[in-house]
Symmetry: C2
Subunit: 107 residues, 2 copies
DNA sequence: TCCTTGTGCAATTGAATGGTTGCACCTCAA
DNA sequence: TTGAGGTGCAACCATTCAATTGCACAAGGA
């Protein structure tokens, strides 16, 4: 039930969210170093805080991230469960067409 | 080397290609029923042939499909090897944060 | 109480995207 | 040789998207 039925729309926003390098970076950063606020996340990046906020909102829409208010700040936490949906679709589509996928299946 | 080096750009176009429902559909169709021309692929769809051509070009840019001229037609063949790149990145990013991914890893 | 810091909201801009139509060109079969 | 079917190219349009800026507002700390 959980890794199975990513309805079309969900896959749209999911893959869409992953198609941007900044967003992939944000996701990796959140996964590696834990929750953080948009302001902090924007610091090392060459874009404004607002830009980061928008990216995070897109990611939230895709279910990749969850905002959590704490006092006057908002920490975003990575919720990578949805990544499994993407993997699921890919394995499903790729099926047994590619040896490389079979290899990944079993690794 | 093969499932490894999805340089940023490659992932952009790859996930980007997968973020559109029509393109996912085309890919599945090509995988399921083998190579076909843009004209044929467009028939059951609610969009024009040219729209399909553009989608196929985007997919070609992502390495998901390869055009092959045969006489006066062009058959597009699915080349799902790149899907492994996507899966690779997802597993890498997801790491061991999600039980569901671990499950998929071993299935 | 002030003042600073972090968020949220809105308007704007420029570029990318998805789609269409029209037409020229090439290939092949009568 | 003529005509029909399949492609390719280009212009165009509407929508979405990434990003910026400016400003108002909430929450803590001095």
């Amino acid at each position: 039930m959980s890794t199975q039925p990513p309805a079309g729309d969900a896959l749209d926003s999911l893959f869409g969210a992953l198609s941007d390098p900044t967003r992939r970076l944000l996701l990796q950063r959140l996964l590696a170093k834990g929750p953080a606020t948009a302001t902090v996340l924007a610091e090392p990046l060459p874009v404004s805080r607002q830009a980061v906020v928008k990216h995070l909102q897109a990611m939230e829409g895709a279910g990749l991230v969850t905002p959590q208010r704490e006092g006057r700040e908002v920490r975003y936490r990575a919720t990578p469960e949805r990544l499994a949906s993407a993997v699921g679709w890919l394995l499903d589509a790729g099926g047994s067409w590619d040896r490389r996928i079979d290899r990944l299946r079993k690794r």
